[in-house]
Amino acid sequence: MNKRRGKITSFFKKNAGGWALMLPMVVVLYFMIWRPQVEGFIWSLFKMNAYTPVEFAGLQNYVEVVTEPQFLTVLWNTVQYVLWSLVVGFLPPLFIAMMINEMVHFRNGFKITIYLPTIIPAIVGYLIWYFIYYPDGAGLLNMLLAKVGLGPFQWLNDGKFTILFITISMTWKDLGGAMLLYYAALQGIDPSLYEAAILDGASVMQRIRYVTFPRLSGIMLLCFIRQIIAVFQVMEQPMAMTSGGPNGASTSLGYQLYQYGFVTGRTGQALALGGVMFGILIIFTCFYFVLNKKVEDNT
């Protein structure tokens, strides 16, 4: 009996201190992440009155979200955001990092200057671009075009290209982080590998193909998936630059969710849309974890 009690006290002694120190973290994570994450799913099955769940409604919120006439448009818009951001923004940071890594002159200067847009507050960056795309003569792009006798163009007000223009500003703002990541990876490649390749008579393309690329492919794939996940949730950019317009042409799923949840008072649909987005993205998230483990094991 006494022995067992001693065991319990020693178990308690061993663990209580750790738990006490960890408790604030667990509490905060519970209330800020885990609880709302689970509640989001539960309440998406309820009829909501503003911010109070009223009664169980099954999949009704989901049905309402998916059968909404603009749902497919919004989904396609979101896919367009992802596609354009990959076209405009996936390879440039890699190429820029590779070029900087080859420089003898101003290497640090280039690195810092190209990183600069990352440090200005996100919303300020988007608002600056809102004015760059300003549809009258005061906007920077129309001013430049006027100098060569063109324009003025409508830019963000032209629904066909709004998403492309928004992704350009996103790329401008976020390229620095990925660039540094690739740069660090490039710096980690042992120069003797290149020297060996050069002795073997490898051309520049061959050196990139057989020395550089194999050492970057893991990070590239991780960045690729991370970008898909991040851009699929795009919300603040259309909010700041276009309010989802013109005519809903730049409304993303995230922005639609914000509209449902905090503007038009359709909380139930907001929750259901969150569930839909989760369902789509969790596939990528799982893939990311599997891949991340592989890449970590290789490095």
Binding site: V26, Q37, P117, I123, M143, A184, I189, Y194, I198
Partner: protein
């Protein structure tokens, strides 16, 4: 001026650069980088210069890149029109709170996960890793509901900074950063201290903390930057104009017709100053931080 023969071998080697073909290639790449660097800074410079334009210059044809004259009066006028004082103080309070909450909560958490490992810590760690990449939109509305009526204590947290501080602390990435850091601290030091009779808290405060100054600084800087940059949640939570952080105020002023475009641009400039100063001081730390969490992130 550095010479080509000092080049470390990467894709191009010093020997390559002796030939004309590669010299041309090098300078073409150099030119491309100059162009990219210009594209990176011109938008911001344009916005700053726009702030100095007089109000009759905004729509003058043809519009120009540079304002006709620089006067400090335009800064003063914009400051008078925008009344950012309370918002700057509010953003400062948010940044300090973010730092305090994050360092204490994530720092201790990372320490326990890395060193003390009580029973159950492994499970917690797995969940922390998984929540890092969870799609977050599904928890937006429930989180807002919590802030209106916080569970257990039933407090309305709207128009207070508490939600922002708590959310800053619930950052799995920072927890991982601390954990990885504490993992790298030599075990021998800890054992020696334990033999000398240090308890866990002593070990944490007199060995771990001094060794962690670089990572503490990095996390603190990103927290402060977050407060000057975060927009969405402060926008939802802080409705009182005086409590709003600068990014929120800036966003709301966009739809106010009485603020002219040049004044507004000066406002955007004001909002860039604190992060820019922070970057100027801690540039090495901020850009080096990528290596801390980067690949493993």
């Amino acid at each position: 001026m550095k010479r080509f023969h000092t080049k470390e071998t990467s894709i191009l080697a010093a020997t390559d650069l002796k030939s004309l073909r590669y010299k041309i290639l090098y300078w073409v790449l150099f030119g491309i980088l100059v162009l990219i660097a210009l594209c990176s800074v011109i938008p911001t410079i344009w916005a700053v210069l726009f702030g100095f334009k007089g109000s009759q210059e905004i729509y003058a044809v043809p519009t120009t890149f540079f304002p006709k004259q620089f006067s400090l009066i335009s800064i003063y006028d914009a400051w008078q029109a925008l009344q950012f004082g309370p918002n700057i103080i509010s953003t400062l309070i948010v940044s300090l709170g973010n730092v305090a909450f994050t360092l204490v909560i994530c720092g201790l958490g990372g320490y326990v996960l890395s060193r003390l490992k009580p029973k159950g810590a492994k499970t917690i760690f797995v969940i922390v890793v998984w929540t890092m990449m969870m799609p977050s939109h599904v928890r937006m509305v429930p989180l807002f509901m919590e802030f209106i009526d916080f569970p257990v204590i039933h407090v309305n947290m709207m128009n207070s900074y508490l939600p922002l501080w708590l959310m800053a602390a619930a950052n799995s990435f920072n927890i991982m950063l601390f954990k990885n850091h504490f993992d790298s601290v030599s075990m021998a030091l800890v054992e020696a201290a334990r033999l000398d009779g240090c308890n866990n808290i002593r070990i944490f405060s007199s060995i771990m903390v001094p060794l962690s100054v670089p990572i503490i600084a990095f996390v603190a800087i990103t927290c402060i930057n977050g407060a000057w940059s975060e927009f969405f949640w402060p926008y939802l939570v802080l409705n009182d104009v005086k409590l709003q952080t600068l990014p929120v105020r800036i966003f709301l002023l966009k739809s106010k017709p009485q603020i002219k475009m040049n004044t507004y641009m000066m406002g955007l400039t004001f909002a860039c100053v604190p992060p820019a100063v922070l970057f100027a001081i801690f540039q090495k730390k901020i850009m080096g931080g990528i290596n801390i969490g980067g690949v493993k992130g």
